[in-house]
């Protein structure tokens, strides 16, 4: 089963890379893009019987390793 983990900086944390990217997009003429937050994306192949179990394992992995809870939050999607 495949879980997708999206890790992003918390809203309260300044994201200098995202700020630079949005400025570059404005230079390209994409004034409609108001904000960019840069993050990380992980695909986890998980040996799990159910989507709930895969979600639980992916959450544990994110809590313990994939994300740093001081500065990052995450979101998980699992194929059902």
């Amino acid at each position: 089963m495949r879980a997708r983990v999206f890790v992003t900086l918390k809203p309260s944390v300044f994201d200098p890379q995202g700020t630079t990217v949005v400025e570059a997009l404005h230079t390209l003429g994409y004034a409609a893009v108001k904000d960019v937050r840069q993050g990380k994306y992980f695909e986890l192949e998980i040996d799990a019987a159910t989507a709930d179990e895969a979600t639980r394992l992916a959450s544990e992995a994110a809590d313990k390793l994939l994300a740093n809870p001081v500065i990052e939050s995450y979101r998980i999607e699992v194929d059902r």
Partner: protein
């Protein structure tokens, strides 16, 4: 007394720290591989600068799984003096031995330059030979040294006098212009509540002889020697 300098794959300031302890100060020093499971009776542990495990995932994030880190945690929990320099500081943060996290420098640039830091408190094993308020001119070399912690954590750090080094200008003033990376409250280094674990982004081990432009960093290592000699900070065995 004996220093242990931990060597992770990707450490590149390990020999500088070893040199400072052994050749400049005349102390015993030993390089300890990250897969070792013994600190070999060291009195002081140094986690050096570099790019442990290639900075994969996040700086310092993988190093905390190195077998030696269990020993470092035990040593720290027993009150032993631990110094994390640059990447070693990042490892201490990821390992939970110090609070907070590092972000990319606010200007996204890798900064390699001499800066001034002010010694805020001298009741740690790495500032014991300093007078409070002393300015040190030592180099930084990092891309992710923008210290961040939640406001309540920062407030607690300040209240507990855990901010040990702060970026200042040549006159000793805390200014935004003197802050090379955007760190909250100009924090360049801090300690844990017990004050035996200290981390800082600047590189004191690269400023231990005038031949390299500054010897201001030596006082951190001299402090460790003093603190251990006085028995102020020793790992309970």
């Amino acid at each position: 007394m004996k220093f242990a300098v931990v060597v992770f794959p990707g450490s590149n300031c390990d020999h500088d720290a070893h040199y400072a302890a052994e050749h400049v100060l005349g102390q015993q020093a030993e390089l300890v591989w990250h897969k070792d499971t013994s600190l070999r009776g060291a009195d002081v542990v140094v986690l050096p600068g570099g790019f442990a495990h290639g900075d994969y995932l996040r700086t310092g994030a993988i190093a905390r799984f190195s077998p030696i880190m269990q020993e470092v945690k035990t040593f720290a929990a027993a009150g032993g003096p631990v110094l994390g320099i640059c990447n070693g500081f990042q490892v201490l943060l990821e390992a939970g031995l110090l609070p907070g996290a590092m972000l990319r420098n606010r200007d996204l640039r890798f900064h390699c330059e001499h800066v001034y830091v002010r010694v805020e408190h001298t009741d740690t094993p790495f500032t014991a030979a300093c007078e409070p308020g002393r300015r040190l001119r030592i180099p930084i070399a990092h891309g992710e040294g923008n210290y961040f912690a939640d406001p309540d954590v920062v407030e607690r750090l300040e209240r507990n006098r855990q901010v040990i080094f702060r970026y200042v200008d040549a006159t000793g003033a805390v200014t935004d212009a003197a802050n090379p990376n955007g760190s909250v409250n100009n924090i360049a280094g801090l300690c844990n509540e017990r004050r035996n674990v200290v981390g800082l982004m600047p590189h004191p081990e690269r400023a231990c002889e005038l031949a390299v432009g500054s010897a201001d960093g030596l006082v951190l290592f001299e402090s460790a020697v003093k603190a251990v000699a006085e028995g102020a900070f020793a790992a309970a065995r």
